[in-house]
């Protein structure tokens, strides 16, 4: 095994082993267990960052028709031949940023749990579940086999259910059930889609399927419909999004961060890598529908946010709008649009992760998330209000911050696609961008400005050091990705180019 293959396996093995060790430690060693979990998450981040190896010169020497997916590292062993299941992992410029983002957010959440365990305690189990979720998400991003992709897609489901159901808010049981049933519906449709492809093509190898495209038109349409439906529930795409606001609102802070930060990306990443890559003809056929729904999501998300009265719920609905931009980018099937989707994914993960951390901090201090009861945060806790202002402005897409690129280039991609439909969609999406600005400014006006409300006046002013430690990296990343988008786009350029060639072949 090469060093790269070892690193691929270690990226999954370290959090998996970490989760089992943390769960097996006795409850009296709770703090030590959380520390062990945090160390495991840190090691995972280091290992996953070490997967970086772009610009491998050998890519184009593969002959006249190089494969569309050229992983930097590749590990391919048979798991269950009777199911066409291969343990095939790989990482390239499309998956790498998401892999690192996942590892980073998990580390921040584990670190945050070290400091603050939500009721009813038992932080080691929360840490173990976070690591288990990390295994599933990383596996989804690394899988280059359809069946393996599905297996990892499923791994996330129950640990996330447990995180919401045990450590969530007052209506947690309902929210958790809704989350698990909805997303299971998505993944069983994904399962049917996966095996529609596998039984028609005789292989589940995503690299081979993307390169050769052996499927007939009919199969591609069926497969894309099933895969896209399954993934759109996770993403989520309007009108399949109804699980999201409840789950995000009720989940504990770390749960919301992981949910919004990386779990949703499994859907959009899967759409790019699996659905578009494996069934490009189906993607072309369905693109207008996906694009229209995406734009509807942007508008609906923004309008709901404008009328929203609860902080976490508002941020949750803003995710619907932001993921709408990502979906629009994917639906254009242009290089610009796909690039926009990728950077939009990463930016949303960073910024919304940060926003949920902040919302959690506000709710922990004020014991309420109602906008009517909040106000004047700037007076009482200028530090918190400042970071919140930064995150909100980053999220509304101010140029120079991470949120800008994804939204702007989704619109540009849609315009480039041309034609009355796509131009209209671009125009409406741009309007949605303006609405996004409107509701975030409204949020800031309600929360930060004005005289301090009674609950705000009663809350502690300072910021704890662990909070700064967990927000700091996200603030820096939001700035870095905003100023130097090439951080993400550079490595994604070649794979996206190759993918658009496949789609438009």
């Amino acid at each position: 095994m090469s060093a790269g293959q070892v690193a691929l396996v270690a990226t999954l093995a370290v959090p998996a082993v970490g989760a089992s060790v943390v769960a097996a430690l006795p409850s009296r060693a709770d703090r030590a267990a959380r520390l062990v979990g945090t160390v495991a998450a840190a090691v995972t981040l280091v290992v996953s960052a070490a997967l970086y190896r772009p610009g491998d010169g050998g890519w184009f020497s593969f002959g006249p028709n190089p494969p569309a997916i050229r992983p930097w590292h590749d590990l391919d062993v048979s798991w269950a031949s009777g199911l066409d299941l291969r343990f095939h992992l790989g990482v390239d410029g499309i998956s790498y940023p998401l892999v690192v983002l996942t590892a980073l957010l998990t580390l921040l959440c584990c670190g945050y749990t070290l400091w603050h365990v939500p009721d009813p305690g038992r932080g080691r189990l929360l840490t173990a579940l976070l690591l288990a979720i990390e295994v599933g998400i990383l596996g989804t991003f690394l899988a280059l086999d359809l069946v393996l992709f599905f297996v990892f897609f499923e791994v996330v489901l129950l640990p996330m259910y447990a995180v919401i159901a045990v450590w969530g808010g007052p209506d947690r049981r309902h929210a958790a059930r809704k989350f698990v049933l909805y997303t299971l519906l998505g993944s069983v449709l994904l399962l049917v889609g996966v095996f529609t492809v596998v039984s028609a093509a005789g292989t589940g190898d995503i690299v081979a399927l993307t390169a050769a495209n052996p499927l007939s038109r009919g199969t591609q349409l069926a497969a894309f419909t099933l895969l896209a439906l399954g993934l759109a529930v996770k993403a989520p795409l309007w009108p399949l999004h109804t699980w999201l606001p409840d789950a995000h609102t009720e989940a504990p802070t770390v749960g919301s961060v992981i949910l919004a930060g990386v779990l949703l990306k499994m859907g959009t990443y899967g759409l790019i890598r699996v659905a578009v890559g494996v069934a490009p003809e189906g993607a072309r056929w369905a693109a207008p529908v996906v694009g229209s729904l995406a734009v509807a999501a942007i508008i609906v998300g923004s309008l709901v946010c404008l009328a929203q009265r609860e902080l976490k719920r508002l941020i949750a609905y803003s995710s619907v709008g932001h993921m709408g931009f990502v979906m629009l980018g994917i639906a254009t099937l242009t290089a610009t649009g796909l690039q926009a989707a990728l950077i939009g994914n990463v930016a949303h993960g960073i910024i919304t992760g940060l926003l949920f951390f902040l919302a959690g901090a506000v709710k922990d201090r004020a014991h309420t998330g109602l906008l009517d009861d909040l106000g004047g945060l700037r007076e009482r806790a200028p530090g918190l209000a400042g970071v919140l202002g930064f995150a909100a402005i980053a999220s509304l897409g101010l140029p120079g911050l991470a949120g800008f690129w994804g939204e702007a280039f989704a619109v540009v991609g849609s315009l480039r696609r041309g034609g009355p439909l796509w131009s209209t969609l671009a125009a409406i999406a741009a309007l949605g961008g303006a609405l996004t600005a409107a509701y975030f400014l409204r949020l800031l006006r309600r929360v930060s400005h004005g005289p301090a409300s009674p609950v705000v006046a009663a809350m502690p002013a300072g910021l704890a050091r662990p909070e700064l430690a967990s927000w700091g990296p996200l603030v820096l990343l939001a700035l870095a990705v905003g100023l130097v988008p090439a951080l993400v786009l550079g490595m994604a350029h070649d794979p996206v180019q190759a993918l658009t060639e496949v789609v438009n072949r």
């Binding site: 269950a80 698990v180 069983v188 049917v192 069926a222």
Partner: protein, 489 residues
Amino acid sequence: MVQSIDHVALLPAYLAAGTAVLVLLADLFTGRAVLPVAALGAAATAAGAWLVGTGADRATFCVRDGCSYLADGTGGLVAVLFALLTLGVLVLSAPLLRSGAVPVGEYCFLLACAMTGGVVLGYAGDLIILIVALETLTLPLYVLVGLRRRTVESAEGAVTFFVVSVVATTVTLLGAALLYALTGTVQLSALAARLGERTELRDVPLAAAAVVLILAGLAFKVAAVPFHAWAPAAYDGAPVPVAAYLSTASKLGGVVAILYVAVTGLRPWLDVAGPVLAALAVLTMTVGNLVALRQRRMVRLLAWSSVAQAGYILAPLGAFATADGRTGEALAVAAAATVAYTVFYVILELAAFGSVVALRPFAGDGGEIDEYRGAARRAPWVGGAFVLALVGLAGLPPGLAGLFAKVVVVRSLLDGGAGWLAIVVAVNAVVGLAYYVRVAALLFGVASAPRSRVPWAVAGALAVTTLVALVVGFAPQLVLDAADLVATR
């Protein structure tokens, strides 16, 4: 004509029947050590079936048309499964037997008799042996269900089970008789040959009725809707280990019988059998899951869930309804998928019932679901095993065995061109999760009760079953290879 009888081929059946006799004698003369004798006998039967099964294919009771008793790898696998399931249930019964709630000798004797039926069923090569073996498997269970002393539910369950099952047997026999009248043979392979050669038989009145009757009768044994009504009452009334036996071994018997009859015997007529099986599968999983949603008693919930599981088991055979699904390879895939699902299912189901046994007072029934609140805190390991089994039955990680079981079924359906049935299975999996996750969440609820001790025999059986579930979860190819073996008979 004098037949030469191959006694080596019959060895597993001798061992199983010998176990029953030995148990009876041990009970009669010593009154002690009955359970060890029965357990040793079951282990010996498994070992014997394994030895015979891995050797060359044997057959005996042969006439012109073919052989009635086929000791091949297929039969060996089924026999080993039956013997091991019996062993597992015997060990799970240890605390129940010690508590004196049921008579020890009779209990073990009846289980050994049922095992004999199951073992012979695996080797069945004609309809008569098949039906007789199936009855030998079921008959002792009527008594076992009613064995709990002084409980009305127990007697009620037993009577329901008895009446329904006798009717089912009659229906099966009627179907078999009609098939015999049509073709003049009861040998499964000869039956397939005649049905294939003489296409004019299709026009004979009652020909389709024969197929439907025999399949409907067998559907009773797997508790498929609309022939399922006995199952919840019988499971709930029975001692919990017997319910475990009903939902694993008895169901396995029904599945094997349906496979032998449909895939081997009725192969040329799968266009008639296919739609029947597809309708049974869809009804069974949908009704089972929907009713399970509303259950308040644990064993009833497991009973309805096992009804739903029977639907998934039959689903691959539903692909026979389409022309694509009846060609050679798709047929083998479907049969293998049914066997593989059944194997995954019996392992998980045994683990689930084993957990119920471990969490309940020994002589009691399954109780209300609410009584399990916080059980995982009282007994963390048993709770963990229970959750793993439930999640596996729902088909989600970390119950990888169950996940792969669902994958096998969906894959075979799409290979057989029955995409619509795959979607029905998929949607049902979502409904199923709703109640499995409710129970699993309840186990982790807050309840103030002391930690309970689990008898070592039960703990051991549960640990082994869970370990097997984990192993086949990470190495599903083991089960798939075995299933291919069965399907290629």
